[in-house]
Symmetry: C2
Subunit: 424 residues, 2 copies
């Protein structure tokens, strides 16, 4: 690899307003584009799909946006789904087959919005705000061409294999293969839980089932995410082809819910239960990986990775949007502070992002294993004390806080004890 | 009304390139915008909904686009749904309770595409082509403001009561009230007819039922349009609230199809039959009206009406998109020929458009009455002669030709005789 040589006009480059190119229009890319534009920065976003193409595509995820992410959206003028009737107000947690369950409330509500709708809407917002939107395929060769036209290129998508630009960081990436097989789908015919809570059911040996009110193009439906342990009862849902036998698939899913998430099963109206549409279903698996946060793509021009391009986790703790939003805001503030957008700049940004996303990664990775005794101890305490239950549930929006509780026996004990002393 | 005074700079105005403002992003507005932009004319389109808002809105219609309209789309680079698997290749016509039925093929296929998807896609096309797209409510006051910024304003929407700008032409508007109550919906669970034909079932005394392959955001489904004669069996479908009892509504619709469109009923898979989504249903009624084709909205600035703003028909003959597309092309070509865009220009355009849409209006209005003997004579001839059946069906794409056949006993006789002499 050639040694880096500062271009002769480097000083000159950064006396004028910077030009930022963002590749990818997910949570990270869109929030960064809106933030930069809000502060007058000339910003281009490159995306492979228009709003119409997004809305005609397959369900990509079942993303939860917690209060801090929603705050950042509000600051960007992108609070399109603030109606309390659409909110998710808490979590009902249960371990199937065990007498352990509790419900807790978020201090401020979370929200599940179909990412196809979210991305399409924020892409329109960005265009209306003056972000230049360029549609087209996202290939590495394009990125290299675009690098010439920007002072900093931001890679905010794992699509088109662009994340391969950034080397895997081995000591932050403990898994060589997926720990769960995934099924996600949108359904009619499930009554929403009281308080519109997210149901989080752990079925030991089989996996986890998440069910929540989910806002899509046509209104509020139910989103189901099944995290299936390979070889367990739930795994067939993650690879059986729905289109081959829709009614059979729906029956198999209902049977799985009856056994592994009985609190959700009880809310099903059998006659109305159905996938909301042929594309509203996703099957797959994710190998968690942390990559280097930046790379010099040509002498003097750097690409910074944010969101999934930088840190990709299994969705088990629902932190993807939060981490992407945090990273976008962190990078956005750094850009406003000024260049040069060199290795030092990118290193600093990566470190600030990792200070947050380390908790997300370690918590998500740990949650893919059997819960250790100190985690079960916190769950038991929550099932006996509603203040603890609320605190546990609210911590889902604050992964650093959550990981300080769940990451070690000491943290768990200190957390539970803090309520004892408060009650004393 | 003030007499028209030519502005002092009228000559000067039209030596530079004209600026055209189009209010409304339906078939007429979008095709005109794309056509003008293709020829380098500075064009702005005003619309009250973004692509995302369009795709999240209620089903607006079940529009058929015949071959001449599709040709014009192809010339505009807007042929997004050309896959033959999505096409409608002919019409199966029947009179329920009578031994009269025939199938005919279009010489070139027609297409039913969800107008929400169509409009959203062509709106993106227009923006990408360099049409300026302005989003916002469409009120008369806005139109007056915008008139100052354009050399010609085109009103291409009936929304926001903008069509009220154009006086009703009494002698072209025979009806004071709707002749049909309408129900339209998109459904899963109807097998497509062989050759993917449109089923056109007349049930005497009750109305007409149209069923066709229909492409929407999620794929190919079935579109049903019920044209209910007030007081007949079909009318309850046009005002019963679906949301109050979806299963009951679907049962009532199936019952209606069994009696009034048995050829469609036979293709229903009861277990899969369902509305495709909560917004994929429309109920209403239309009073057919022809309006003046233009108005002087401020001294020297004219507004030309095209599409539904000019001529609004009951959808019984499915000619709305064709008429809108024809009008857009006609006006577009006139604009390219140059201004001034004055009363003489607008009169000339209106006359050219009416030369086509007169057939659409008279044919559609006549079809709202019981078929007279000469029409039944053509249908009988078609049921006995496949060449006549094909010619009848293909004429649906060419309303002037269709009306020359169906508009008078002489035309009908001449049409049928032309096949006898060909066979002789």
């Amino acid at each position: 690899m050639a040694a880096r040589v500062a271009p002769p006009d480097a000083a000159c480059m950064h006396t004028r307003a910077p030009r930022i190119g963002i590749v990818g229009a997910g949570v990270a890319g869109l929030q960064l584009a809106l933030f930069l534009r809000q502060h007058g920065v000339e910003t281009t976003i490159f995306t492979d799909r228009t709003p119409v193409q997004l809305l005609g595509s397959r369900l990509p995820s079942t993303v939860c946006r917690f209060a801090p992410t929603r705050d950042r959206e509000r600051a960007l003028g992108a609070e399109h789904w603030d109606d309390p009737a659409l909110a998710t107000n808490g979590v009902h947690f249960s371990i199937t087959g065990a007498p352990l369950q509790f419900s807790g409330a978020f201090a401020r509500a979370a929200s599940f919005v179909d990412m196809r709708l979210y991305q399409a809407t924020l892409l329109e917002d960005a265009a209306n705000a003056g972000v230049r939107v360029v549609n087209g395929a996202l290939h590495l060769s394009d990125v290299l061409v675009r690098a010439k036209q920007h002072d900093l290129l931001v890679i905010a998508t794992g699509r088109g294999r662009l994340s391969d630009l950034f080397p895997r960081v081995e000591d932050r990436s403990p898994y060589a293969e997926p720990q769960r097989r995934l099924f996600a789908g949108l359904f009619n015919g499930i009554a929403h839980a009281s308080q519109q809570t997210l149901s989080f059911a752990i079925s030991p040996g089989h996996g986890e089932i998440f069910t929540a009110p989910f806002f899509t193009l046509t209104g509020l439906v139910s989103g189901i995410l099944v995290e299936a342990i390979p070889g367990g009862d739930l795994e067939p849902l993650t690879h059986t082809r729905y289109a081959d036998d829709p009614a059979g698939f729906e029956t198999a899913l209902i049977d799985a819910l009856r056994v592994h998430a009985p609190m959700v099963f009880e809310r099903i109206d059998r006659s109305a239960f159905a996938l909301t549409g042929p594309l509203d279903l996703l099957q797959g698996a994710i190998t968690p990986v942390v990559r280097a946060g930046f790379v010099e793509i040509k002498p003097g021009v750097f690409a910074q990775a944010i969101g999934d391009a930088h840190v990709l986790n299994d969705p088990i703790m629902g932190q993807g949007a939060n981490a992407a939003s945090f990273a976008a805001r962190t990078l956005g503030e750094a850009i406003l502070s000024g260049g040069p957008f060199d290795a030092q700049f990118c290193t600093h940004v990566e470190q600030r992002i990792w200070a947050y996303t380390r908790s997300v990664t370690e918590w998500s990775n740990a949650s893919l294993q059997q819960p250790p005794p100190h985690v079960l101890h916190v769950f038991e305490a929550a099932s006996n004390n509603s203040a603890i239950a609320d605190a546990v549930v609210d911590s889902f929006g604050y992964p650093q806080r959550a990981w300080s509780v769940f990451g070690s026996p000491d943290g768990a004990s200190a957390f539970v004890r803090s309520f004892e002393s408060a009650a004393a």
